[in-house]
């Protein structure tokens, strides 16, 4: 049976793993390669490396760490951040990444998703979506350039519409980051993820809000997501991955041993 995936996300800034609260105040957690190796050994099913500086800055970002990770890691990994063109994506994939994830550049140029699909195939095209629940309007809205709070902006897209659009353009997986929950560890946004699941025929990964093991159980059982992504609970050792996986197996959730 296909297992649900536990996915540590490593936010990368200037070659270091960092974590901020609600996208702010980034603090350094550690070096990329040893952390990645540690997670792989602990039973992470996949890793996501998100270069949070890349989409916001105009400068060319050093991605040589992708090769260093590919050399030591024997589980799949995805690289996100700063991929604006087919050529950018090609370089990352050649360095050994299994998937590339696009977010802000896809909002600026939705055709990018189509070109990535046509060049590399659907299986390696992930679209990340930063979705914010606006309490005043009661709507989920897609935000852009969230790596830099001075440039973060609301787009015209409602989340459900963008989810449909990116699938039509050839996305092979969607990571839905629920911004209201990010970094506060009160649980995933089950309501939103459940709603999006209904119109998502490709794998859907939940992001934002994990604080306790039960949050993972809930999001798998109640929102039927294929994977759950988390950062701080893993980086800070709040939830050890082996214990989390043992707990989820006990709850009869399909989890890789």
């Amino acid at each position: 049976m296909l297992a649900r995936r536990i996915i540590p996300c490593l936010d990368v800034k200037d070659g270091k793993v960092v974590k901020g609260v609600k996208f702010r105040n980034h603090e350094i957690i550690g070096d990329i390669v040893p952390l990645a190796q540690q997670y792989a050994e602990q039973g992470a099913d996949e890793l996501v490396f998100y270069d949070i500086t890349a989409s916001s800055d105009q400068r060319v970002v050093d991605k040589s760490w992708v090769t260093r990770i590919a050399q030591v890691i024997d589980i799949p990994f995805c690289v996100a951040g700063g991929i604006k063109t087919v050529a950018d994506a090609g370089k990352i994939l050649e360095m050994g990444a299994d998937k590339i994830s696009v977010n802000s550049p896809a909002l600026a140029d939705p055709e990018l998703i189509t070109r990535l699909h046509d060049t590399f195939g659907q299986q390696c095209v992930v679209v990340g979506i930063d979705s914010f629940y606006n309490e005043e309007t009661g709507q989920y809205q897609v935000h852009q350039y969230t790596g830099d709070e001075t440039r973060t902006q609301v787009t015209a897209w409602q989340t459900a519409d963008w989810v449909k659009e990116v699938q039509q353009r050839g996305a092979g997986e969607i990571v839905l980051n629920c911004m209201n929950q990010d970094g506060v560890r009160k649980g995933y946004d089950i309501e939103q993820l459940f709603a999006i699941r209904q119109s998502c025929a490709v794998p859907l990964i939940a992001s934002g809000g994990a604080g306790e093991s039960v949050h993972f159980k809930n999001v798998f059982e109640q929102a039927d997501v294929d994977g759950a992504l988390a950062a701080s609970v893993f980086h800070k050792g709040i939830i050890p991955i082996p214990e989390l996986k043992a707990y989820l197996r006990q709850q009869n959730i399909a989890i890789r041993d």
Partner: protein
């Protein structure tokens, strides 16, 4: 054993470095090549691939590697799309179908998975059939990493099966040709054992 020549066929696809790194993690040197003589002389040959069957076959034709691969007599391991290229034809095509290398009887068809998601992406359990040499020392039901939307049906050439709404070939084998639908280079300990088994053939 004297050092083997291990060659990864440079199909022009994107997962070549991850296959190369996985073999190197076993402490075994490996070359990436599209040179006919280098491929012919190798002790073991990997045929990697991601992307679409038509694009990969185009690339193999352009590099004039079709008959070279068909005439190989040493063990050859196709990975993911590389495995799909080993059968007769693929429904993944801009036209009706893409003719493949015809090394193993079979066809690649789009998976029928009802309400489940495609691509079939993630870790799934694999059941080896009989005493398949590539699965020596690997427990039945071990997890391997898959990413694909097309698959080869079960047949007499199936060496391992997997289930995702339907049963399909996780691995196929005929003579010196072996193929796996999953990515051993990304399948943790079970994957590296399988790669080691192939190299030890």
């Amino acid at each position: 054993m004297a050092a083997q020549q291990i060659v990864i066929v440079n199909t022009g696809c994107a997962n070549i470095s991850s296959v190369k790194f996985a073999v190197e993690r076993l402490g075994i040197p490996v070359a990436v090549s599209d040179d006919l003589n280098t491929i012919k002389k190798a002790d073991k040959v990997f045929l990697p691939g991601v992307g679409s069957a038509n694009a990969a076959m185009d690339s193999i034709h352009k590099k004039q590697l079709v008959s070279c691969i068909q005439e190989l007599t040493q063990p050859v391991l196709g990975i993911c799309l590389g495995m799909q290229l080993m059968v007769e034809k693929s429904a993944e095509s801009l036209n009706d179908s893409t003719p493949c290398l015809g090394l193993i009887p079979g066809q690649v068809k789009r998976m029928q998975v009802d309400e489940l998601r495609l691509p079939h992406m993630g870790w799934n359990t694999v059941t080896p059939i009989g005493d398949a040499p590539l699965f020596k020392g690997i427990d039945s039901g071990s997890y391997f990493y898959f990413v694909h939307s097309f698959a080869v049906a079960l047949s007499e050439f199936t060496m391992a099966s997997c289930q995702y709404a339907m049963d399909f070939s996780a691995g196929i084998h005929k003579d010196n040709f072996f193929g796996v639908q999953f990515h051993p280079e990304r399948s943790s300990d079970a994957g590296s054992q399988l790669l080691k088994n192939f190299i030890d053939l």
